[in-house]
């Protein structure tokens, strides 16, 4: 097992290395003079000179790269051109919002997708199965921004059941400890504020979770169908076990594996989707910050966000793979 983990960790190194080269190129090979491109209209000769020195643009390219790599290894992501504050601080301030959103979306997708998939597999080729197939087709075909705007119009503008945007009603003041609205309100025992935060989360989480929902439903259905035809399931039925026991113990236990892998793969899509979802719902997180940074031509911020999101994606999949190897010995020894 240890050997497997080490092998997986070592395999991640070339990817990280390649990633650093791409992101280095993103800044240092900006079309034209990088310093001018970075500063945009605010470029004064002094500022340009400062940025040039900071990036080491007068040095050979390989030295610039080594300097960048050294910075990264020290956890230094540089400063935002707009706010002049360390990017890592700004990131940590906004990241809890994105985590809250993506976890909400994942709970929605997994919580609904697995039962739907199981239901469809149990009633295969029936009306219910057809409905589930249509839902999952719509899930992958409706873009987040179309679904998000539609939900916003129906449930916030027309019905007024749920808030249209933001993470919390602006009239509610809460104290921030962790920057997670739901956790901070619970810590302070502020139950009304907690539910207010929760009501703000529902629409964005559904919009963001729709694609993973469709994919998880499809995979669960296919995986359950696969396992249902196995000999040991027939044996279990022949022994006279209850349908409930066959479904829980013999089918789902084995059908889980592909489902878990796919859930891990969804994390990347969720982080990327958060960029769009947060923009629609004015959700204060890293995604909205990305769009803001692009509009401001704050390339250092864009570069850092891509790096961190890719890192998270790699780590999550590593954890999923290792967890998977724990459950399934066939992988460990392969």
């Amino acid at each position: 097992m240890t050997k497997y983990i080490i092998r997986r960790l070592l395999a991640a190194i070339p990817v990280l290395f390649g990633l650093s080269i791409i992101l280095f190129a993103f800044i240092h090979l900006l079309p034209g003079d990088p310093a001018v491109a970075l500063l945009g209209q605010h470029a004064t000769p002094e500022l340009t000179a400062e940025i040039r020195a900071q990036l080491g643009l007068d040095q050979p390219l390989w030295q610039q790269y080594l300097a960048y790599l050294g910075q990264l290894l020290h956890g230094d992501l540089g400063k935002s051109i707009i706010t002049n504050r360390p990017i890592i601080d700004e990131f940590l301030l906004r990241f809890p919002g994105t985590v809250e959103l993506t976890v909400g979306a994942l709970i929605f997708a997994v919580g609904l997708g697995i039962p739907l998939g199981r239901y469809a597999a149990r009633h295969v080729q029936g009306f219910g199965d057809g409905m589930v197939t249509v839902i999952s087709l719509l899930g992958i075909s409706i873009p987040i921004f179309v679904l998000g705007l539609t939900l916003q119009y129906i449930f916030a503008v027309q019905l007024k059941w749920l808030p249209a945007s933001g993470r919390l009603d602006p009239r509610i003041a809460i104290e921030y400890h962790t920057n997670f609205v739901l956790i901070d309100t619970l810590l302070d025992g502020n139950i009304p504020a907690f539910f207010n935060g929760l009501s703000h989360l529902i629409l964005p989480a559904i919009a963001l979770g729709s694609i993973p929902l469709a994919i998880i439903t499809r995979i669960t259905r296919a995986s359950v169908l696969d396992v249902t035809n196995e000999d040991y399931v027939r044996t279990a039925r022949a022994k006279g076990l209850s349908e409930r026991r066959v479904g829980g113990r013999h089918i789902m236990r084995n059908a889980w594996l592909p489902v878990v892998t796919v859930i891990g793969l969804q994390v990347g899509g969720l982080l990327a989707g958060a960029v769009i979802t947060e923009t629609i719902f004015s959700w204060n997180g890293v995604g909205r910050w990305t769009v803001q940074a692009i509009q401001d031509h704050d390339y250092f911020v864009v570069q850092s966000i891509i790096l961190i999101f890719a890192l998270i994606f790699l780590v999550v999949n590593l954890v999923v793979d290792i967890g998977y190897a724990f459950i399934n010995p066939r992988i460990r020894y392969a």
Binding site: L19, V124, L138, I140, L149, Y153, Y299, I306
Partner: protein, 297 residues
């Protein structure tokens, strides 16, 4: 003896390869959902191709006097904030969407195809290097890579095309390499090898044609995501350089501020994107089932 056997073998070969595609086509024509998809795609293509003939108004020039009109007989989808006919803009938007999406998928097929074929056919160190590059590109999640590329290259349709292609190319490379590797050990390839077929003949005559089916399915499904991604970039303000260009995602962004007064400005472009995406998704699934009958349940 040998002179008789050779043409017969060639004929059998020709019949077999014709059979695969014809069988697949026949199965596709009997696949209900795929036909629905094909219908949606036809509507989408027709809108794009015949936009100048169908569109009742100019998609770019509008009159402010006509702004934000509800759908009516004169403007069946209403007018936007600048008094432009929404229906005409949707039709012309299909052009932009189709052009960029198809262009990006073709570009991705070329890039990913070359990378995947090289990796799968040459193997060894080349395979290792190519696949590590693919891993790096796949590590940057989906549209974030496209966002980065457009932010870097600047706005414009060719830039968007490259950006969306870059998100699909590594996926295609991986698929092609995977099926090439699987094909390398198949009996008919071993047979060709033992008959002394050259490396390139084995690759182009035996392995590639049999690996193409997976790529065709993936490319069709990628057209759906490409349409969504192009609109997504537009929605984030990374659309065509000229903001007047009728592009579905950009049209949605412009409409968000008027969601209360003019929800139809969100409904119609949204519907257009969804119909196009459903079309390619249904066709892709149908192709998968008809090209590989074992997939069908």
């Amino acid at each position: 003896m040998a002179t008789v056997a050779a043409p017969r073998a060639r004929r059998a070969e020709a019949r077999a390869s014709r059979g695969l595609w014809r069988d697949a086509f026949n199965r596709l024509m009997r696949n209900g959902p795929a036909l629905v998809g094909l219908f949606f795609i036809t509507v989408f293509f027709a809108a794009a191709i015949f936009a100048p003939f169908i569109a009742p108004y100019d998609p770019i020039a509008g009159s402010l006097a006509d702004r934000l009109q509800l759908p009516s007989a004169a403007h069946i989808m209403g007018t936007d904030l600048q008094g432009r006919d929404e229906f005409s803009r949707i039709l012309y938007g299909a052009r932009v969407s189709l052009f960029v999406a198809v262009g990006s998928v073709i570009m991705a097929l070329i890039m990913g195809g070359i990378a995947g074929a090289t990796a799968g056919a040459v193997g060894g160190k080349v395979d290792n290097v190519v696949m590590r590059i693919v891993d790096v590109m796949l590590a940057i999640p989906g549209i974030l890579l496209a966002i980065g590329i457009v932010a870097w290259l600047g706005q414009g349709l060719p830039q968007i095309m490259i950006a969306v292609a870059a998100t699909n190319a590594p996926i295609f490379a991986r698929i092609l390499r995977g099926s090439l590797l699987a094909n390398r050990e198949v009996d008919y390839v071993s047979a060709a090898r033992s008959l002394g077929a050259s490396r390139s003949r084995m690759l182009f005559r035996h392995m590639l044609p049999n690996s193409l089916t997976a790529l065709i399915v993936a490319a069709t499904l990628a057209l759906a995501t490409a349409i969504i991604d192009v609109a997504g970039l537009g929605f984030l303000g990374l659309g065509p350089a000229d903001p007047r260009t009728p592009e579905w995602g950009t049209m949605l962004t412009d409409a968000t501020r008027f969601i209360r007064q003019a929800p139809y400005l969100i409904f119609f472009p949204g519907l257009a994107i969804v119909v196009a995406a459903i079309g390619f998704n249904l066709l892709g699934d149908g192709l998968r089932e008809s090209l590989d009958p074992r997939m069908k349940r």
